[in-house]
């Protein structure tokens, strides 16, 4: 199947990824080739009521919901781009609502 450049740009927007214009054609071509390869899954007959596969334990055992202090070897200020007075600082949300 053919994925269009417009679709790739839409997917990139959903994925919050910037794709330089110079790379768009190559990326589009690669995605088409991968999807063509994956399309062979349509050869496999599947019963209409197939249960999904879940590896691991049959039942997920949750630990007790107890608040415990988390001991960190390094404070957030050591690894955050901007961390002030207990807050992670990010740019304003300007323009986000429009999208």
């Amino acid at each position: 199947m053919r994925i269009t450049r417009e679709e790739v740009l839409h997917i990139a927007k959903l994925a919050e990824l910037q794709i330089p214009d110079a790379e768009l054609e190559r990326v589009t071509d690669e995605l088409c080739r991968i999807c063509d390869y994956v399309d062979q899954l349509n050869e496999v007959p599947i019963p209409s009521q197939a249960d999904p596969f879940a590896p691991g334990p049959g039942r997920v055992g949750l630990r007790e919901d107890i608040v415990r202090p988390t001991r960190l070897a390094h404070a957030p200020s050591a690894f955050a781009p901007e961390f002030v007075d207990g807050f992670f600082l990010v740019p304003k949300l300007d323009g986000m609502e429009e999208e």
């Binding site: 910037q18 496999v44 599947i46 050591a78």
Partner: protein
């Protein structure tokens, strides 16, 4: 005796010390830098000395004084964890992974962090932001991936064991290429807490060793239930085998789909010889069929990118890692610019594929379909193991280590390097690769596959085969 056992015994007998081991490992790592393997991303003599001092204060444990290298997508507090990505360059985790906590608790020494394909996405360790890893026996070739750094440091005898991670074959495939042992446990056997998430329904911390015993000793320490990972199974840690298994009366299945007509002649010769050895050891060998395994790679390349697209959404430049402020200066500009600049081409490709197959209009055609085929793949294994087959044996890879650059321009040809390993990952089963011969000096791996949670039995069969076969013999001579 395995190298890990030798070190532990020497420590116990007072013939060596953690300090002496730290100096020995530092000397080897320094020498390796001159060989330009580029397998190690972080190590220091000071860190090794601190590890030795810490171990000196502990009683003797199952891994006292054993240096272990850690793939750089498993978090450690003493070294950076970059995942081979610019987006995490310089990041130091505020906590240790459970596997690392258990290694340290057993007296192991964290020796180094190893290079990998960015976020474990790749089969050659060429997709690292910090340069490709060179094959220890032929620098023009790749060591496999994504845990190529861990495979290379064990193959180069810098450490006797290392942790890697598997999503679709990322330990077994480089183990095969580099001529070492690689063991992937059952999904849920080893805690994923502190393993940077890629494909959460597939990811398994796994082990490299110079020998099966080396890998088994490390696996027995890191396995077992962890309250910090709800997908771990409530079972005791993997037991060490008593020794090589007797294969008398055992049935080994050969899935015919894993021996295609176009299999590399050297790989075929090496696996044929290993099958003969299994027969000589008393095993009954019979052909079996896993008909849906041929769909494993396309299934994997829907499910793994879908999970990756979700997991990697957390790298947004807000709380940790690199930050790039976009042109508009807003929050969304920051997300897009940070992720666009921080992720390499293969990671971007997989995020886009994953986002596409999860998007409205394509979800059922791709993601639901792949989940349904995954059921069929897993059922095939269940049927074979339910019909009296104890273990399965296959080649680990369709070819020996390929040349660097040979597959980087064609993503699908790179993905096919996992053609014999991906089905096992999708089914969540344990498997191991061990060296069974060479072609023109390059190692070939054989793969043993076991029913869920039978790691101990599988390792015992691996030991028997390892003892009976010359892994350095040329397969076509």
């Amino acid at each position: 005796m395995s190298r890990v056992a030798e070190i532990v015994d020497a420590m116990r007998a007072g013939q060596s010390s953690p300090g002496a081991m730290a100096r020995e490992v530092a000397a080897r790592l320094a020498l390796a830098e001159t060989r330009a393997l580029n397998a190690v991303l972080a190590w220091s003599s000071d860190a090794l000395d601190r590890e030795a001092a810490r171990i000196d204060g502990q009683g003797h444990g199952a891994l006292t004084g054993v240096p272990v290298a850690i793939k750089d997508n498993i978090v450690t507090t003493e070294q950076p964890t970059t995942c081979g990505s610019k987006i995490l360059e310089g990041y130091v985790s505020p906590f240790n992974a459970t596997a690392v906590v258990r290694l340290r608790g057993a007296g192991a020494m964290i020796a180094a962090k190893t290079n990998l394909d960015e976020f474990a996405m790749g089969s050659s360790t060429e997709h690292s932001a910090f340069g490709r890893v060179h094959h220890p026996l032929d620098p023009a070739r790749v060591p496999g991936g994504s845990s190529g750094g861990s495979a290379a440091v064990v193959a180069a005898h810098l450490v006797p064991a290392a942790l890697g991670s598997e999503t679709g074959g990322s330990v077994r495939q480089p183990a095969s290429f580099c001529g070492v042992v690689g063991v992937k446990p059952t999904y849920g056997r080893v805690s994923r807490y502190g393993l940077v998430a890629f494909g959460s329904s597939l990811d398994c911390i796994s082990v490299f060793g110079e020998t099966t015993d080396d890998a088994a000793r490390v696996l027995s320490v890191i396995s077992g239930h962890d309250p910090l990972d709800a997908t771990t199974v409530d079972r005791p840690p993997t037991e060490l085998p008593d020794g090589p298994a007797s294969l008398d009366g055992m049935t080994i299945g050969l899935p015919q789909e894993y021996f295609p007509d176009d299999l590399d002649p050297g790989v075929r010769a090496a696996t044929d010889r290993a099958v003969s050895v299994l027969r000589e050891l008393g095993a009954k060998v019979k052909p079996v069929s896993l008909p849906h395994s041929r769909y494993a790679v396309p299934t994997y390349y829907v499910i793994a990118p879908a999970e990756a697209a979700s997991n990697l959404a957390r790298y947004d430049g807000a709380r940790y890692g690199q930050r790039v402020v976009g042109e508009g200066g807003g929050l969304r500009d920051l997300y897009r610019a940070t992720r666009g600049a921080g992720f390499g081409p293969e990671v971007r490709r997989r995020i886009l594929i994953g986002t596409y197959v999860l998007s409205a209009g394509y979800y059922d055609a791709y993601y639901t379909k792949a989940q349904q085929v995954r059921v069929r793949i897993a059922q095939d294994f269940g049927q074979v193991f339910g019909q009296g087959v104890d273990y399965l044996f296959t080649p680990t890879t369709p070819t020996p280590a390929f040349a660097a650059g040979e597959r980087t321009e064609d993503p699908v040809s790179m993905y096919l390097a996992d053609i014999f390993t991906a089905a096992i990952s999708l089914a969540g089963l344990p498997a191991m690769s061990l060296p069974i011969g060479r072609i023109d000096g390059l190692p070939i791996g054989g793969q043993l596959i076991a029913p869920a949670f039978d790691e101990t039995g599988m390792l015992a069969v691996g030991m028997a085969l390892e003892q009976a076969i010359d892994p350095t013999a040329e397969a076509l001579s």
